[in-house]
């Protein structure tokens, strides 16, 4: 089974802090994704990566950056956390040799982040 692991289930940070969310997958997948999930808004794509050191903006990248130094690890960074970034953050991965894949995404259990 695919295993996508997010380092923290719950996290509380203060406004203005730099926040790191970590995601690791154990299936050698090329593609990795970061979403946030909010009531009434569903899942929204923040950033994704098709390869090591490669990243592309999703639908709502403002206020976020990402890092993919190793294939199995994809980090989401909140440069200066704000209260409107309080949310559930979900990481996902799929296998693919390129940018398209007919494989579904597999998700981690999420990090519930609160910014005070």
């Amino acid at each position: 089974d695919v295993k996508v692991t997010q380092s923290s289930r719950y996290l509380v940070k203060r406004t203005g802090e730099k926040v790191f969310l970590e995601c690791v997958q154990d299936m050698d997948h090329e593609n990795m994704f970061w979403y946030r999930q909010d009531p009434g808004l569903g899942l929204r794509l923040i950033y994704f990566s098709y390869d090591v050191k490669m990243k592309e903006k999703g639908d709502i990248p403002e206020g976020y950056s990402v890092s993919r130094e190793k294939k199995e690890r994809f980090s989401l960074i909140l440069e200066s956390a704000s209260t409107n970034q309080t949310s559930m953050y979900l990481c996902a991965s799929t296998p693919a040799p390129g940018q398209t894949s007919n494989q579904p995404q597999h998700f981690g259990d999420g990090t519930r982040l609160s910014i005070l």
């Binding site: 996508v4 289930r9 009434g40 808004l41 569903g42 899942l43 794509l45 098709y50 592309e56 979900l90 940018q99 398209t100 894949s101 007919n102 579904p104 995404q105 597999h106 998700f107 981690g108 259990d109 999420g110 519930r112």
Partner: protein, 113 residues
């Protein structure tokens, strides 16, 4: 018009009922269709994955795709309290050489014992 529409519910049914969950979409470029189940405080878990129009069955679950009507459904037979969760539909299309996955907002289902 939103690309994917899903009734948020909530939907409450008695144990043993047949449940029907639905999504409509507006973009005929969607090629792959998925249903995810998400329990409270957990990530979405893939339930069903289909490509073509028609039905796909897996145990008590049946996924149905009607591309001509741009309509997908998930049926749950003999529903159990353990089926209580939020169900998300998702659809994938290719766009300029990359893929785009669009989710519905989810339908919250409660199955009462």
């Amino acid at each position: 018009q939103k690309e994917v529409e899903q009734d948020p519910g909530p939907l409450s049914v008695p144990e043993g009922a047949i449940v029907s969950l639905n999504c409509t979409y507006s973009n005929s470029a969607f090629q792959y269709f998925m249903w995810y189940r998400q329990y409270s405080r957990k990530g979405p878990e893939l339930l069903m994955y289909t490509y073509s129009s028609g039905n796909k069955e897996d145990g008590r679950f049946t996924a149905q795709v009607d591309k001509s009507s741009k309509y997908i459904s998930l049926f749950i037979r003999d529903s159990q309290p353990s089926d209580s969760a939020t169900y998300l539909c998702a659809m994938k299309r290719t766009q300029g050489g990359s893929e785009k996955l669009v989710f519905g907002k989810g339908t919250k289902l409660t199955v009462n014992p």
